[in-house]
């Protein structure tokens, strides 16, 4: 079935797992950091090799289809760049002694476990397995968020943990309900949890049950997506954890949770009598967008600010997918990819900035373009991108999101545009202070790895102007699948 000498699906899962095992054993920072990068790279390669799998037979546990390949590749790519970034970041953390060497092993191992969890969640064909994987990823990130052991970090982790586990519970209940709905149709046993089988028979499920199931799944996984009003854990978790983790959280984990929501949305959409999932997602999306947009204004902590911007963008993406239709789905996918790349790039910049300025308070960071031109302009570029200005990718996706409303519900464009504008104002307001004006704080040179940041920005820039036809075809195909 497979032209490749190895099974890419397995390797996508096993490499991180093995990496985690090894990293957990090895002491010493330099080696582990390099190994970490290596493992991430291998994962990326095997993820890319997924494209060359000609025939895909869905297994009972794992499967590959067009939808999750995109997520996996994005996932392992950002994971790779983040590991590169984290190498230079963590070294600085060690020098300043914020991070004790003891925790370092733990850190790298956990990083790989997290990658494993997310990849597993993406390739899982079994909704139970998917649930397990997502919880695994969540719990690892909980531990990573608390890694600094400062009161704030612990509190953030604690909050994340409590809210997360409630989410866990709700998602599990939803999963059980889906099984209950499937059992009379598919029959007892494992098959009733295999997604590919579920989607075939979804039409005959009991509508009331899967409605209920979707409510729980939406709330359960929506907590991970960080949609308002379930977002509470997100800002603090981003702000207090190590920056690489913030990058991974914003860039990846939210997407994985969103992916789960999408899967179940498909399930629900396949059933004619069931409620349309769209309105719920659109409502929560708009709520998150507008809410986060307003929250951006009063932020004092730079990482927390960008965390809120992640909520905002997740809202936009949820809005797009909820809106449905090929155009909107395409826009949602594109926006998701662009947001992952941009936001992680921003967090790379922010990580170095907060290190060199030794603060996360926006008020204490001024005139970066003067004091640290590369970081400063990188940040400017990133914020300009995330604010949706051309010629960067998010402009295109936001253009598509807004214009897609005219196909379905034109008046929805008004609140959408309003939210976008409010968020824009807030981001620019903060950027003005951060990047321009008289420099403030230390102007010491920073040893930073600019490669990941500018690589991401370059990709976003390129995508804003030119999307390669194969990619477009691929996305359009998926957009069709998503209905």
């Amino acid at each position: 079935m497979n032209a490749l000498p190895f099974d890419p699906v397995a390797s996508v899962l096993l490499i991180p797992l093995g990496g985690a095992a090894i990293l957990a054993l090895l002491p010493g920072y330099r080696v582990t950091a390099r190994l970490n990068v290596l493992a991430a790279l291998l994962t990326l390669l095997s993820a890319l090799s997924l494209f060359f799998v000609e025939t895909r037979v869905p297994g009972t546990y794992l499967f590959i289809d067009d939808l999750n390949i995109v997520f996996i590749v994005l996932n392992s790519f950002v994971g790779f760049t983040t590991s590169v970034f984290s190498a230079s970041y963590i070294s600085h953390e060690l020098e300043t002694g914020r991070l004790k060497p003891v925790y370092l092993r733990f850190y790298h191992a956990m990083f790989q476990v997290m990658m494993f969890g997310m990849n597993l969640a993406l390739v899982a064909n079994n909704i139970g397995l998917m649930w397990v994987a997502i919880e695994l990823a969540t719990l690892t990130t909980v531990l990573m968020v608390g890694i600094y052991r400062t009161p704030e970090a612990l509190e953030a982790a604690w909050k994340y943990f409590i809210l997360g586990s409630v989410g866990i519970a709700l998602a599990l209940f939803g999963t059980i309900l889906v099984y209950m709905a499937a059992r009379p149709v598919v029959g007892e046993g494992l098959d009733a949890m295999v997604w590919t089988i579920l989607i075939e028979h979804a039409a005959n499920f009991d509508p009331a049950l899967i409605n209920l199931a979707f409510v729980f799944l939406m709330l359960g996984y929506g907590t991970k997506v960080g949609l308002a009003p379930l977002h509470a854990w997100l800002p603090d978790a981003h702000a207090e954890g190590p920056t690489p983790i913030s990058a991974v959280l914003s860039g990846l984990l939210l997407n994985v949770a969103l992916y789960a929501v999408l899967r179940f949305k498909l399930l629900l959409a396949a059933n004619p009598e069931a409620l349309a999932p769209g309105p719920l997602m659109v409502t929560m999306g708009l709520t998150s967008l507008v809410f986060a947009a307003f929250m951006l204004y009063r932020r004092r902590d730079i990482k927390r600010m960008f965390a809120y911007s992640s909520i905002e963008h997740m809202g936009i993406i949820a809005f797009a997918f909820g809106m449905g239709g090929p155009l909107a789905n395409f826009a949602g996918l594109l926006h998701m990819v662009m947001h992952s790349l941009t936001k992680s790039a921003i967090f790379f910049a922010v990580g170095h900035i907060s290190q060199v300025k030794d603060t996360q308070k926006i008020a204490d960071i001024r005139g970066l373009t003067v004091s640290h031109p590369w970081l400063g302009w990188g940040l400017v570029l990133g914020v300009v991108a995330i604010a949706g200005l051309p010629p960067l990718g998010i402009f295109m996706s936001e253009f598509l999101v807004v214009s897609s409303t005219f196909a379905r519900v034109p008046w929805l464009a008004i609140p959408l545009v309003f939210g976008l504008l409010v968020a824009f104002g807030a981001l620019l307001l903060h950027l003005n202070g951060l990047a321009f004006g008289e420099p403030k704080g230390s102007t010491a040179p920073v040893q930073a790895s600019y490669v990941p940041m500018f690589a991401h920005l370059a990709l976003v820039f390129g995508a804003g102007i030119y999307l390669p036809p194969p990619l477009v075809g691929w996305f359009q195909h998926i957009a069709q699948l998503l209905g």
């Binding site: 009063r298 807004v402 321009f436 004006g437």
Partner: protein, 669 residues
């Protein structure tokens, strides 16, 4: 090689230049290379655009690049309208490059200007070239972004940073409004190519909505009241040659956007929507010039006068819409020609004036009129060119500003034949507004020139100012010459515009160049005509006769002496009329109404030799009334919502719980 690919190559070259300028070498060579290269490229682009107009009935040349929206591609197209605006933009651009060659040397942060300047030029060209909604908006926003970077060039001054912020937010607002307009235009089908939009049918209400969005979106960039607030902040903040570009060229690009959407894509909106354009235009013209009169910062005054001229142009557009709605093609063509002609003229003399202001700035490091004066002695060339600019923008015959205003008045005189009562009532009012703003503009520029260049120096800086470098003067000289030329032979310009009106309205003004003595005749010889050339010649002729006769037959001797001044001896320069005192009478006439201006005089008690104090406070009602409240509302909402950041975990849980219960209730019901 058709003209569109020619221009695309020019744009590519400009963008290449801006990439080149990022290179960290900071030498004069780089500076010269960038501006020189940009100059060459803009000249080429100008040539291409002019050639496209000149070739009579040149076919629209189009090009499609595999960029932008994947399934659409990036469409570019040059038609008569685009060619005209390209000519305007690139003319202004070339002048700016020439000026920049000299002016840019005094830049304190060249690395914050050089990379963005060519990008800005390229962006403006791209907007005009774009032929589908996505590329249009992308280039539009890119243009805003580049100009924003230029505004932020002197970012250490907090005022500029604020200006940049307000500017970019307003720009984004405008773009989103345009996005809504395009969304409505392309409808559910969602085909964003202009070609598809053109053929689509639009109902009356959607059409009116689109026009509204376009008016807001393009107007916020062009500086229509009440969306103009960013303009007087941002334009002065940029380096002067960029200010000139922003005022002279970018506002024109915005006007192009409006014309493209409303006249070309939208087909014919209902007649009553033209009233909105007319009223907004009239109010903008009057308010803009009044504000300009109250300024004492030279560049800010120029920025406000830009707002006035934009208002004038929109009056013309509104008239054209009204006529078009009643199928009076000839009148619509007249109005539109007047508007486009004014676009061209304003690009000329506003650039010229900003260069003059820039020259004054480099010579004296002063923008405050109260600290200038007597510069005509120290900077004769600049003074002469600035005077030409002032005369032109004050619509004095035989200069170009008058020609376009005259056409506009002729268009207004056609309006009684409109069937609609609403228009009948407001059009004369608009005419009065235009006349008022023309007169106020004259007053404004008497003040500008009189205070800055005439009289005696009010500060040491003004006393020992030096004439600026030859690049700057050359740029000013060229523009001044163009002002005079277009003024005395406006027929040429009109004939160059008429292809655009023909393509948009299917009608055009009669050919002018065939008339004897190059006079312009809008409708018929019997109706009205004006001949700038002859007026110019007559004045020159009779003036020289007078000079000759008097110097020949009467005395030609001159004695220098102290000023008479009713016998006051050697008063200090401080006793001259200052900028504020000059505008005081007009402030007393209009100020209380428009600015809530309050004056209070504190006289020292008799016998006390202390100085008397005269305080004037005036408020920008629009800022206070509109933007202040919006900002307040957002701040309020942000504060209230911010409490949600500080809840306890339990409260967050109860949020989740609440959401769950509500959804369950939804299911249960």
């Amino acid at each position: 090689m058709n003209s569109v690919s020619m221009l695309l190559l020019c744009v590519a070259a400009l963008l290449g230049l801006s990439v080149l300028a990022v290179a960290p070498v900071r030498t004069r060579a780089v500076h010269t290379l960038i501006y020189g290269g940009a100059l060459a490229v803009s000249l080429i682009a100008l040539g291409a655009a002019v050639a496209h107009i000149a070739i009579d009935g040149a076919a629209d040349s189009t090009a499609v690049l595999p960029l932008g929206l994947p399934w659409l591609g990036a469409h570019f197209r040059i038609d008569a309208l685009a060619a005209f605006f390209l000519a305007v933009v690139n003319l202004a651009g070339a002048a700016a490059c020439l000026y920049g060659l000299g002016y840019g040397r005094h830049e304190e942060a060249p690395h914050r200007v050089l990379p963005f300047f060519p990008a800005f030029l390229g962006g403006m060209n791209l907007v005009i070239l774009a032929d589908d909604a996505f590329s249009f908006l992308l280039c539009w926003e890119f243009m805003s972004l580049a100009s924003w970077a230029l505004v932020m060039a002197q970012h250490r001054n907090p005022e500029n940073a604020r200006a940049g912020y307000v500017y970019l937010v307003m720009a984004c607002f405008g773009t989103l409004m345009l996005l809504l307009a395009f969304g409505l235009l392309s409808g559910p089908a969602g085909d964003y190519g202009f070609a598809a939009i053109r053929v689509a049918e639009h109902g009356a209400l959607p059409a009116a909505l689109v026009l509204g969005f376009a008016l807001i979106g393009a107007g916020s960039k062009a500086g229509l009241v009440p969306l103009h607030v960013w303009l007087p902040l941002a334009h002065p903040a940029a380096p002067s040659h960029v200010s000139a570009l922003m005022s002279g060229a970018m506002t024109k690009v915005a006007i192009y956007g409006f014309i493209r959407i409303v006249f070309d894509l939208l087909g014919d909106p209902p007649w009553w929507s033209s009233m909105a354009v007319l009223i907004v235009g009239g109010v903008t013209a009057a308010l803009g010039v009044l504000q300009a009169l109250m300024q004492r910062d030279l560049k800010r005054m120029l920025a406000y006068s830009t707002i006035e001229n934009v208002g004038v142009i929109f009056c013309g557009l509104g008239l054209a819409l009204a006529f078009q709605a009643s199928n009076m093609g000839w009148a619509a063509a007249l109005a539109l020609t007047a508007a486009l002609f004014h676009v061209f003229n304003h690009a000329l003399f506003k650039s010229l004036l900003f260069y003059g202001a820039g020259a004054v700035l480099t010579a004296t490091h002063e923008r405050d009129l109260e600290r200038l004066g007597g510069l005509i002695h120290r900077m004769p060339a600049t003074a002469l060119f600035f005077l030409v600019g002032c005369a032109a923008i004050s619509a004095l015959p035989p200069l170009n500003g008058f020609a376009s205003e005259w056409l506009l008045f002729q268009a207004i005189l056609q309006s009684p034949e409109l069937p609609q009562w609403g228009l009948k009532i407001i059009v004369p009012g608009i005419g009065a507004m235009l006349a008022l703003s023309a007169a106020l503009a004259a007053a404004c520029f008497v003040k500008a020139f009189g205070i800055a260049f005439l009289g005696r120096p009010r500060s040491a800086a003004a006393t020992n100012a030096q004439e600026v470098d030859r690049f700057s003067t050359a740029a000013m000289a060229i523009l001044a010459a163009l002002c005079v030329l277009t003024g005395i032979m406006p027929g040429l310009a009109i004939d160059w515009i008429s292809p655009a009106t023909l393509s948009l309205l299917g009608d055009r003004m009669p050919a002018q160049t065939i008339d004897p003595w190059l006079s312009i005749v809008p409708i018929a010889q019997g109706r009205s005509s004006y001949n700038g050339l002859l007026v110019f010649l007559f004045i020159a002729f009779s003036a020289s006769i007078a000079v000759f006769a008097i110097h020949r037959f009467a005395s030609n001797r001159i004695r220098r002496g102290p000023a008479w001044d009713c016998g006051f001896v050697e008063p200090s320069p401080a006793t001259q009329y200052s900028a504020d005192s000059f505008s005081q009478p007009i402030r007393r006439v209009f100020g209380t109404l428009v600015f809530r201006a309050r004056e209070q005089v504190e006289m020292p008690p008799p016998g006390d030799s202390g100085p008397a104090r005269h305080l004037v406070e005036q408020r920008d009602l629009i800022w206070d009334g509109l933007y202040g409240n919006i900002a307040g509302a957002i701040g309020f909402a942000a504060d209230r919502l911010n409490y949600l950041q500080f809840l306890t975990i339990r409260r967050y849980l109860s949020l989740v719980f609440l959401a769950l219960v509500i959804l369950l209730l939804v299911l249960a019901i």
